[in-house]
Symmetry: C2
Subunit: 248 residues, 2 copies
């Protein structure tokens, strides 16, 4: 594999939320991993995935965690009786598989949304590396904690926000994540389907569509399939927060 020193621009992301989404604590961008440090101790394997392919599935033996280098993926959870849900969307710089640490098998699925390049970090080696390098251990811990905080924020959003508010919050979240990677926060292409967004937001896909249509008709965004322009960030923030005042 291409083992040249590959500086992950992950460092651009900080714990402090520079432009947090009002209704949604910007925890999601916390936790950064120093790949170069890891390389000293862990044999990093590269994987390439096409859209639709699984990085891992629930039930498969847990052997490694993964760092997304390029592309987009989603995590999904399926219960015994078939109910399912998208639990997270992942992009460059995100760690995947940490939720299975300590378990014999993976506890959820990871599926590519487009062409991906993912670095595999064998867990036994990672564990040893973390014991040797406190800095690494702290980064892993920070990632785990960030995950908890992010989940909690979304749980709050699900409990307290209406459908349109949740969709607005989601768009702002995506925008801020794109910005954190150096892309435009005004114009981006969603990598996931309406159904995926709906699942993540605890809605139905028709409801997501309707929310997008409505936000579009308000002039806050422009949507063309998966291509999104954010036209009025301030107003969108306001929608995500308050917005119980709705005069169609």
């Amino acid at each position: 594999m291409n083992a040249t020193a590959f500086a992950m621009p992950v460092a651009a992301r900080t714990n402090a939320s520079p432009a947090g989404i009002p209704g949604l604590p910007d925890y999601s961008t916390a936790g950064t991993i120093d790949v170069n440090e890891i390389r000293k101790y862990v044999p990093v394997l590269q994987h390439r995935l096409h859209a639709g392919e699984h990085l891992y599935r629930a039930g498969q033996p847990f052997r490694a965690i993964y760092l997304v280098h390029a592309g987009f993926l989603k995590n999904g959870l399926v219960s015994d009786d078939g109910r399912e849900r998208v639990t997270a969307f992942r992009m460059r710089g995100d760690l995947m598989g940490v939720e299975s640490i300590g378990a014999a098998t993976h506890v959820c699925d990871a599926q590519a949304l487009d062409n991906c390049c993912v670095w595999e970090l064998p867990y036994p080696a990672m564990l040893k590396a973390c014991q040797r390098v406190p800095e690494l251990q702290m980064q892993l811990t920070a990632t785990l904690v960030a995950e908890i905080r992010s989940d909690r924020s979304w749980m709050l959003a699900h409990s307290t926000l209406g459908a349109e508010q949740r969709v607005a919050a989601f768009l702002l979240h995506v925008a801020s994540r794109h910005e954190a990677l150096g892309y435009s926060d005004r114009h981006f292409v969603l990598r996931m389907s309406r159904a995926d967004i709906a699942s993540f937001l605890a809605l139905k896909h028709e409801t997501v569509t309707r929310a997008l249509t409505h936000l579009s008709s308000l002039g806050l965004i422009a949507v063309q399939l998966r291509e999104v322009h954010i036209l009025d960030r301030e107003a969108l923030c306001r929608v995500a927060n308050i917005a119980n005042t709705k005069l169609h």
Copy 2:
């Protein structure tokens, strides 16, 4: 403080879910902490709280994590614009405050539901202890991961289960946690209000009441204020899973 060797019966809890709630992966009981080991490195301080008192509040400097020794508490999250939510209920053996690790200040509230005894574990000392004792670090990591898995399970429940199903799942969850501590899983007293349960389940308190009333009228449980008898665990499990078939 009373620093005699106080064996936390937490060890009774295992990663394997002995009698999982069907619709709800029983992750919540994973993660155990070896207090005696911690005592060797960390000065453990004891706190007593009365119902309603806060162990910590969002915004206060983060200095320690806490181990619940007796009593019940809840965690809560409040957004800038005042929306709030109960994120977790805690009991004997649970670690609290881990979600604030790495942050300057606590990111959520912790409030006692009744008289509590909580052990404070100053974080700097914990950090050092974890670096010295890999076993401890693994326990902390396991706790964090268990937290993630538990949150994800509830998120799935919120997305895919109706109000009554969620309430049923909650009762089964409480029952299994009580059982894990050696108490009856058929008869217990809820320590939190209907409003707390509702907040945790992303419902309104009236809806929780109605669900309890209905489950009671079906003969699956008996409810008297906060006192609950589980009369038909099997049926309750079935409700928590399927139960879209509802003939009032």
